[in-house]
């Protein structure tokens, strides 16, 4: 089994897939899939319900919604409004937006590294309302009541000298939101998923995940408020590419032999390399619009 060789993926669905491929059912993990043929959107909900399930999946208990839309990587006029709608739908359910909420949206990642800039670019396009409602009241917004949206782009540790968690803990303590939504660029296992998959989870953002590798998680445990994580894989570790291409080839060998081969073949400097599509700059910009519109739609309706 190749699972002993650690390949990094931030997508719960990719983890689940590996068990499915081997026809193993995992106790404590419920998987539900839905395909909208007209919109060509596949939604997979993975619910990790027990400690055992969490161990098997290598991810904390909670709900992981994956929206796959192959068209996402193709530009269109309205930035894939149908995908924004799907995001909005799931957010409304997860956060219970039928009641007025105060929400802090956090754009994780390094603005000046293209593949890591999804979070910052998304927050740049949000409709921010908290300061207006605080000054003029909700009625100023022309709706019966409305959510108080604030946003922050904290930067990464190399830029700030601070853990992202420290910054967000401080701001949460001061501004007391009901929910934190954190948006981050992820690393995927397969190039097939790059920029076409959006993962929404109620477990927050975890250490070691993301293109820029967070060291301490933005989780309900750490922040004392509900934390929703939204992620899109924008890179694949270059080592993964080689690994995956060879897994098939090496099937004849036993596990120990496989591991030896792979370790020899994957040169160490590959681990500091990313695989990205050639048009990653344009792609991340478009994706950030799809997500920010999803958030704007979710927050606007009452």
């Amino acid at each position: 089994m190749l699972g002993t060789y650690r390949i990094r993926t931030d997508l719960a669905m990719e983890q689940a897939e590996r068990f499915t491929e081997e026809n193993v059912e995992i106790r404590g993990v419920a998987i539900q899939e839905n395909y909208d043929k007209e919109k060509d959107i596949r939604t997979t909900v993975v619910k990790i319900q027990t400690e055992n399930g969490a161990k098997a999946m290598g991810k904390p208990q909670g709900c992981y919604i994956t929206i796959e839309a192959p068209n996402l990587s193709v530009p269109d006029e309205d930035y894939h409004r149908e995908v924004s709608g799907e995001i909005a739908h799931h957010l409304r359910e997860l956060i219970h937006l039928e009641k007025e909420k105060s929400i802090l949206v956090v754009g994780l990642g390094n603005k000046s590294i293209t593949s890591d800039s999804l979070g910052p670019q998304t927050v740049d396009n949000l409709h921010i309302t908290r300061h207006i409602i605080r000054e003029y009241g909700v009625q100023a917004m022309g709706e019966e009541y409305l959510h108080r949206i604030s946003g922050i782009i904290p930067g990464v540790m190399a830029q700030t000298g601070m853990e992202t968690l420290e910054i967000i803990q401080g701001i949460v303590a001061e501004t007391q939101p009901d929910v934190v939504i954190a948006i981050d660029a992820l690393a995927a296992r397969s190039t097939r998923r790059l920029n076409r998959t959006i993962q929404i989870t109620d477990t927050g953002i975890h250490p070691g995940s993301g293109v820029g590798n967070h060291r301490e998680g933005l989780t309900e445990e750490n922040l004392q408020v509900k934390v929703i994580g939204i992620g899109v894989p924008t890179v694949v570790d270059a080592a993964t590419i080689v690994h995956d291409a060879m897994a098939h080839l090496l099937e004849a060998l036993d596990e120990a032999e496989q591991k030896e081969f792979l370790e020899e073949l994957i040169s160490p400097n590959l681990h500091s390399m990313f695989v990205t599509p050639k048009d990653v700059d344009e792609t991340v910009k478009r994706l950030s619009f799809t997500i920010s519109e999803g958030l704007n739609m979710a927050f606007a309706r009452v």
Copy 2:
């Protein structure tokens, strides 16, 4: 006297000048000037020492150091290292950098409005050390001891929905720095000072100041730690240009007549206009280097 007509300046020196012109000495305000002929740098230290002085100046008690360097607006190879040195010198005195300090540098302003982006651009060029020292200890830095520098670009209220003060209060509470240094683009009264003048003050940043107009001050009173404000005028309100040009012309009239004329002549839409040099994009970029180098120099030496 024209003083009754409110003209906005963030520079204590410009305020002081108006009294000097009229040969008035203000009690509670001490002014000291120094000119380095070789470097062509003029340094003015205005100390507002009493409540009375504060009232007369329209600025809080404290020390205001103004560095004027006409050459600043001209590009040079090392981004005016002599000015960086001057900044470093004053910072070392104000913050007592002979002892190890933990310092949070805040880049105020809107990164996507050129004339308001001085603060964010300065923080982008800082040597950030806090996270390294926290992980590996000061000896990892190759010096006997070193300051712990962190930096944040909080964004403006229209982008975040939060008062800058809320964000900084939260981060200060969480990370406990000894000093906060806040950098901001200012509005000046005279085009002659644009991008050539750097003001350093131990009174922090005050409401209504800055290109973007802060509503609540970053001050020692609000943050419970010492706050140093560093500002450079990058714009003049367009209305000021007209006002100043005419002040001279109108000298013959009495005060009431003057006010009437000015109010008639300065069209309301002028108040949403800025006067900037044609090359403001390049200028702000260079200035941010001069200041960040000043900070880097101040922090590096022990």
Copy 3:
């Protein structure tokens, strides 16, 4: 009369206005105005028909269409599609787009100076077709026939060491377009017109015009093909602000006295200053969309 004191404007309409104010009719100049109340768009067509008219107006013979839309400076969802439509309408008439054309669009100005970047930003958003039609034929575009659109952002002389005219002459000689459309940021006389007025002319771009001041014109005479100029005022010279504010005040004086006063009052360094709205970065970005959409609309329909 103030006319003797040279105040710079790139807008034919502003020039014409000065005569109208004084109730003077100029021979050889026909002015026609149209106001669309519903869309709040005012269109003024100034036709300079004779040498005499050209002299009086200080502009070459030809057709100057000015589209004024006060709403342009306010953001809206579709980047003011009604104004794009108006631009498309006039272009179709001026270039005779009912026949298939090969069109080179030139984005004049300095991309890295915000107020001068209108031309480059507009070309960035154009649908470029020439290379596709050349490789796959017009039928590849899915329309009966289509225009061959190419685009270039030549940069300014300080960046290239070449006159813009040299660059465009070379490219025109090599690629043989039927028409050149040059887009440029202009200087206006009045802040009231900033970012709200679009001028389209069949006389091209003239020396000394534009925010960056071209030295040799992009004209039919120089390029041997029809040249359409499209300009939007994005700045006012700071000196103009003072001048205009005082013109009214000085009416009592005679011409010589006025000139003396003005020359004294307008300090020389004002001439290197621009007046811009505070949000010029965002505004120029939006305007470039309105114009590029106007061009895209004009080129797409058959």
Copy 4:
């Protein structure tokens, strides 16, 4: 032999290496290597002298200078001035800069795709002199005589609708430079060379080379003036990574079997993927400084 399976490299040295590995000497190809231990710079000069050599190497006759500096990928204070000096040295020899020259520098590639923006970023940092010398004479430059430097960033075909060759042919015909220097981002075969290798050649830029894949070459044959190409590999095609990792593994198989395996294993979508270092944005920016400083040094000295 794997050579039958086409793997793309723009570096002559990588091509030569493959023969060297197999201990084959190619007639018509002279290879000379020099290593400066102190600066840790290895310079390889490959001279393809005959038709036969050109065929074997798959590259046109001419001189290919490769500068390898492992430190290049590490930031330093002066942007690796020692490498700039090496570039300057070779340029002076290739272009005979002891005589006054008129030189057009062309920044190839797409400015808005990070890994392809090396050329545009390099031209942005050049000292442009042609317009000053034309207006004020060489003596205005404060040197006895000086080269006339012009620069252009033509954009890529998808942006302009024109072949880069058309644009440059037009500008060369109009401005008559003695030499064209074209700078481009390249694709390498090995991640080990990424951002650490600079290739200078007197054969210009060839079709199918570069990150963006030029369709017609910028060569002396096409432009009628000498053309120097300067390239730095900033990406590796993702398919190459897999290919290289497996070449070793597959050695036991015969050629036909190898090819079959490889074609099966390398998924088609890999061919639209790039492998880049995680910090490609910062790296390309630094490299462009090293190269532009090399050019500035070469042009400045007399």
